[in-house]
């Protein structure tokens, strides 16, 4: 018989060795399975000529047997939505949802880019100038601060309506969804804003988006696990009434949660517009859905109280691998959509199935 618990008082036999694996393990497993699937397709499909997705044996292009180009793009292409997803994760853990993040990306990009423009393009005046000369070649800190403040503003409005007016988060952020889309189209009446300063362009250059994503993920992970903020977020999502009765200032906390989420989305907009060297009103379309999906695939429960940043990062990786995998096996766009849908469902089916088996067998 197993040894007694170290964290328990009296009572039943408690076999510590039989504790269930963390949920994140399921996501990791899904990730590995999907990679193996694509590797297998690379071997099986006749037109693929036995190519490998992640490995690169023949020519050691980058001095490793890994296909570094592929590995980089896998992370790079999800880094920006990943940053949004970090904020969405804590919103969902708190029992809410944020649909406004996608349109917020568009609106923030438009606004921020107008303060990040350079005066001369190929020697000519910037053809896309939004403001006069006063707004040209400003120090990079200006657009950064403008963007984060705008995010904080939108987030606190979301939070205010949810916390004080008790609007369901789905509706409050759906309203904000429309408002932000309106703002982004209104800002320049639909004209794209392009040609940023080199300093601004640096923010999203090369692998920088990945650096931001990983850095912010670590920060958020620490906050959610080890601070009062994290604990209260979980508590509110678990049982809001109990949290209130236990003396948590639920309203103030919720505003903070939505504010942080929107600031992360605003920062994602900065990285995105910098990476693309342009801002357009339609930017960020569907990002809110993908950000939510990454979190949920990563094990965050939409009923609140459950989930982790590590899970979300793994969930983002699942998306990256799928997207690269599709291009790798040259799947047609129609089938890509269908396969993406099936894989999203499949990843969560796997998670549920393992959890249930673990609960039943133990």
């Amino acid at each position: 018989m197993a040894d007694q618990a170290s964290h328990g008082i009296g009572g039943l036999t408690f076999d510590k060795s039989k504790r269930a694996l963390p949920n994140e393990f399921n996501v990791f497993l899904a990730l590995v399975l999907i990679i193996l699937l694509f590797e297998a397709l690379g071997q099986i499909l006749p037109y693929m000529n036995g190519q490998s997705m992640l490995f690169d044996f023949n020519e050691a292009r980058d001095g490793t047997i890994l296909n570094m180009a592929r590995i980089k793009i896998i992370i790079l292409q999800v880094a920006i939505i990943g940053i949004i997803s970090l904020g969405v994760t804590q919103v969902i853990i708190s029992g809410g949802i944020d649909l406004s993040s996608g349109p917020l990306v568009g609106a923030t990009a438009m606004i921020v880019m107008s303060f990040a423009q350079t005066e001369l393009v190929n020697g000519n005046p910037n053809p896309k100038a939004v403001f006069g000369l006063w707004a040209m070649d400003l120090p990079v800190i200006v657009p950064l601060i403008v963007g984060l403040l705008f995010g904080a503003l939108i987030g606190s409005i979301n939070g205010f309506f949810i916390a004080f007016a008790r609007i369901p988060p789905f509706i409050a952020t759906l309203g904000m969804f429309l408002i932000c889309r309106g703002i982004s189209q209104w800002w320049t009446k639909g004209q794209p804003v392009s040609f940023p300063t080199p300093e601004y362009a640096w923010i999203g250059t090369g692998m920088m988006p990945v650096v931001w994503f990983i850095g912010l993920a670590i920060l958020l992970h620490l906050i959610m696990r080890y601070t009062v903020y994290g604990k209260h977020t979980y508590a509110i999502g678990s049982n809001e009434e109990a949290a209130r009765m236990s003396g948590i200032n639920v309203r103030r906390h919720k505003i903070l949660v939505y504010m942080i989420a929107s600031m992360l989305a605003a920062f994602a907009a900065i990285v995105l517009s910098s990476k693309n060297l342009t801002a357009q009103a339609g930017m960020g379309q569907f990002y809110e859905l993908y950000a939510i999906a990454m979190a949920v695939i990563g094990g965050v429960s939409l009923t609140g109280g459950r989930g982790s940043i590590i899970g979300t990062v793994l969930g983002a990786m699942v998306f990256g691998v799928i997207q690269s995998g599709f291009t790798f096996v040259k799947l047609d766009a129609f089938y890509q959509l269908m396969a993406m849908g099936a894989i999203i469902i499949g990843a969560v089916v796997l998670d549920q199935w393992r959890q249930q088996r673990a609960a039943a067998k133990a």
Binding site: I9, Y226, V228, Y229, S246, G247, G305
Partner: protein, 276 residues
Amino acid sequence: MASDMQTNISGASAPNSDAALGDIILETRDLTKHYGGVHALEGANFTLRKGEHVAIMGDNGAGKSTFVRQITGVEQRTRGEIIFDGKPVHFAGPLEARNAGIETVFQTLALADQLDVPDNLFLGREIIKWKLGPFSVLDYKAMRQRTLDALEKTGVKIPNIRGTIERMSGGQRQCVAIARTATFHSKLTIMDEPTAALGVQETAQVENIVRTLKEAGEPLILVSHNMRQVMDLVDRIVVFRRGRICANLKKEETNGEDVVAYITGAKTQPEYEEAA
């Protein structure tokens, strides 16, 4: 009707004019709560002195928990006054009530299902390692240790306190809620049917906790259906019937049968007759 109530105030306070007890810590005047058409609590005049332990008894649906919810700011009253520690209070929520010094075990327990035992015990007043505003860093080790100590007092057995609350048995949950209240000092403790789900041993332990409070001179309101327990523990019994107070009995001057007569409506104290 309000004027009827006024006359009752002195009546209600009468049995408490005990020299051994201190000042009034809590007083309610004409406290009333209507839910839509349901008059759950009507004109309650209630007084509690420092160091005094009072039981609230009454049928199911008599308004006992409603009374507790009005005092602790969980809900906003329809009418009436609450005077706590000498000052009229209007708690906007339970946080304010707790900050004012009222610790409560609610009938619904108010636990966060997906958190573990120490998390629940310290919810809203975590032990902090480094102070950083909302991002203050938690001291998990200290909280775990103090949780084990607090639970020990309730006599409950919990194989793994790091399991989430949703996995706890009915009695284990109740003990966590009680341990939470007993861990923190307060000016007034309110327990709404704290031992309803508890086993024989655990009930005895919780009653010991109550006795410790009595010795420390901390006042208590105990809502309970358990006649033996009430007779064992408190100084005074207030009986609710159909949303109104119908009796205010010193323990020494009453007995179980008498109390049941008040609960069932067979008897009503003269000073409450008009109201009921």
